[in-house]
Symmetry: C2
Subunit: 355 residues, 2 copies
C-alpha cells in the first residue's frame, strides 16, 4: 500500500507547538493530543476538501444527530518510529476497510481512501515529532466520524464530519488483569451492530464493567446474549485461549469485531508453528480446562493494549487462577508483533507502511 497525500487539502499550522509541555514518560492513555487535527465534512451528498488545523473544540448544534441517535463510528490505530526516525503504520488498509464496513452498518457515507489514508499521511507527516522512538512508545491514532446534521427525528443525518486526532501513548493497561465471565449482561445482539466500531457499543459496556470493577475484576469476558455459553470478547478486545498447546479464538461474526491485532496474531502464531483453531470456545470447556490444568493462558488482543494477559477468571462465583507460564504464547506473540511494528524484525507479511 502506498500512502499519498490528498491532491487537495488545506493546512493551517498551529502558531506554536505544545510538544515541550508534554511529559512523554508519564502519559495517561488518550488524554494528550497533538498540535493538529484533520477535519473533512460531508454535505450535499459529497465529501468536501479536508483541512488540517490546530487541535481545538468545535461548534456543533444541540440537535446534532450524534447526540440523540449515536450515529458515530471510529477506528484505533498506531504510528511507530523506527531507529532511523522513520514513521510507520501497521495495516492501515485493514482499518480503512473496517471503518467503511462500520459506516455502512450505521447508514453513514463511506470515507474515500484518499481522505482516510491520504489525510492520515498528511497529518502524520506534520506531527512526526510526536511519534517517539523506543519500544512501547506510539502515537495512538483516532479516526472517527460523527453525524453533525441537526434535527430530533430518528433518521440518518445528511451531514457528517470525519476527523483524525492523535494522542501520544505508552501502554494501555497496567497491573494484573482478572476477568469475570458475563452471565447476565451482554455486548451485542444477533443482527445487531457488534461487528461495527460504533460508539454506542462501548458506552453499553460501562455499567456492567463498573459492576465487575466493584467486585475486583478489570474486565468482562462477554458471552453470547442468547445462551451465555459461548465466549466472545474480553472488554473491548478480542480474546484468545490456550488449552494445552492449541490457541483458540472465536470466529468473527455479527457479534464479534474483526480485530486487526486478532487476525495478525492468528497469522503470526501459524507462522511460528503454533496450532490455532478459530472456533467458539464454550464456557464449560474453559471451566473444565481450568480444572484439569490444560488451560494455560487467556489473553486479550487489540490495538491499544496489543496483547493483554489475563491472570484468572471468575465464573458463577468461583475464581480460577491461571498458571504462570515461563514461555507464554502471549509474551512470545506480543514480542514478535511489536518487533514487526517497530521495524526491529523483518516484516515478512508486508504489514508495515511508511509515512
Amino acid at each position: 500500500m502506498m500512502l499519498k497525500t490528498p491532491s487537495e487539502i488545506d493546512i493551517v499550522r498551529a502558531s506554536a507547538s505544545k510538544i515541550n509541555e508534554v511529559d512523554f514518560e508519564n502519559l495517561a492513555f488518550g488524554n494528550t493530543f497533538t498540535d493538529h487535527m484533520l477535519i473533512c465534512d460531508f454535505r450535499e451528498g459529497q465529501w468536501q476538501k479536508p483541512i488540517i488545523k490546530p487541535y481545538e473544540p468545535f461548534l456543533i448544534d444541540p440537535s446534532a444527530k450524534v447526540f440523540h441517535y449515536g450515529q458515530a463510528i471510529f477506528e484505533g490505530m498506531k504510528a511507530y518510529k523506527d531507529e532511523n526516525d522513520d514513521v510507520w503504520l501497521f495495516r492501515p488498509d485493514e482499518n480503512l476497510h473496517r471503518f467503511n464496513k462500520s459506516a455502512k452498518r450505521m447508514a453513514m457515507p463511506e470515507v474515500p481512501e484518499e481522505i482516510f489514508i491520504g489525510g492520515l499521511n498528511a497529518i502524520l507527516d506534520l506531527e512526526r515529532d510526536w511519534v517517539k522512538k523506543g519500544l512501547g512508545n506510539t502515537l495512538y491514532i483516532r479516526p472517527f466520524m460523527i453525524a453533525i446534521g441537526s434535527g430530533v427525528i430518528a433518521q440518518p443525518s445528511t451531514q457528517y464530519r470525519f476527523m483524525i486526532i492523535l494522542s501520544p501513548a505508552r501502554s494501555y493497561y497496567s497491573g494484573e488483569v482478572k476477568v469475570i465471565i458475563a452471565e447476565h449482561f451482554s455486548r451485542a445482539a444477533n443482527g445487531g451492530i457488534g461487528a461495527a466500531k460504533a460508539a454506542g457499543n462501548y458506552s453499553a459496556q460501562f455499567y456492567p464493567q463498573k459492576l465487575a470493577q466493584e467486585k475486583g475484576f478489570q474486565q468482562i469476558i462477554w458471552t453470547d446474549d442468547a445462551t451465555h455459553t459461548k465466549l466472545e470478547e474480553a472488554g473491548t478486545m478480542n480474546v484468545f485461549f490456550r488449552i494445552n498447546d492449541t490457541l483458540y479464538t472465536a470466529p468473527t461474526s455479527e457479534r464479534i469485531l474483526d480485530g486487526v491485532t486478532r487476525k495478525s496474531l492468528i497469522e503470526l502464531a501459524k507462522r511460528e508453528g503454533i496450532n490455532v483453531e478459530v472456533r467458539s470456545v464454550l464456557v464449560d470447556e474453559l471451566v473444565n480446562a481450568a480444572k484439569d490444568g490444560s488451560l494455560k493462558e487467556i489473553f486479550g488482543a487489540g490495538t491499544a493494549a496489543v496483547v493483554n494477559p489475563i491472570v484468572g477468571f471468575q465464573y458463577k462465583d468461583v475464581y480460577y487462577e491461571l498458571p504462570k507460564m515461563e514461555n507464554s504464547f502471549a509474551s512470545e506473540l506480543k514480542d514478535k508483533l511489536t518487533k514487526i511494528q517497530y521495524k526491529l524484525a523483518e516484516d515478512t507479511f508486508g504489514w508495515t507502511v511508511k509515512v
Copy 2:
C-alpha cells in the same frame, strides 16, 4: 406532581424571538427550535447551576466521550395548550424516572428532579407562545444528556451536559404505514441496553430501516434477536396487536422500552372495558391470525406519533393486508388519550400537570 422552578437558575433572554419566522402550519418534525435552551453541566461529582440561554451551537472537544463511546441518553415529551391558554405536560414524572433509569444503565449521573422537572417548568414558562392551541399542535420536548469529558479511552466520562431543547410540532408520521417483520436484524440484546433510551439504540436501526424502506415499508417490527419468533417493538415505538377484541402488547423487559404512551394506552383501554393482555405475541400467531381474519389491528405507540396505525405487514416475502376497521381501537384510544392531553376530557388518572 407539582412543577417548581429550581431555586437557582440563570436566565439569559434572547434579544429577539424567531417565532414570527416560523410557519406553524408546515412544520417538519424536529427541525425547528424555540428561542432558548437549558444547559446544566455535571463536573467534579456534582450538578452545577442550570442556565437558560438563547438556542445556539456550543463548543465541544473533538475527544468528547459522546463522539467516541456514545454515552448519551434522551427523553421525548410534549407540552399541550388548552382552550384557556394554559400549558400542560403529560406524566413528566414517568419521563424523569425513565431518564434516570437510562442514566444508570449508561453509567451516567442521575439528574435531580429539581433540574429536570424544575428546569422544564422554567424553560416552558419562557416559551409559552411556542405552544400553539388546537388538537395536533404540540411543543415537542427533548431533554438529553451527553458525556462531554475528553479522552479517547473507553471509560465513563466524569463530565456531562444535561440539556432541554424544544421543537414545535404537528404530527410525526404521515401516510399509510406498512411494516416488515425482522427476520435477521434486531434492535436489542438480552442483557443489553434496549430498555434504555440510549442514543446508540437508534442509529443501530438506521441501516435495517433503510433496507426496509427500499422494499416499500415505512417501519420494521423488531423480533427477539435469539429466535426472531417474538414480536417486540415497531421501529422506535412500542407495538400493539388486536386479535378479535383483545389487545396484546409485549411486556417490558431488558429489550423493550417502558413507553409512557404504551402504559397509558393499557390503562385507558382497561378503563374503556377493552380486554388487554400484556404478553409476548409470536410471529406465527400473528400470521395465523392474519390468515383466519382474527387479526384486526396493529398500531405503534410512542410520544412523537401517539398512536400510529399500521395497514399491513410482510413476513417471509408474504404481505398481509389488515382490514379497514370502522371503530378501531387505535383511533378510539388515540382520541381519548389526546383529549386528556389537551384537557378536552376529564383526566381521571391525574396524568396532566400544569406548567
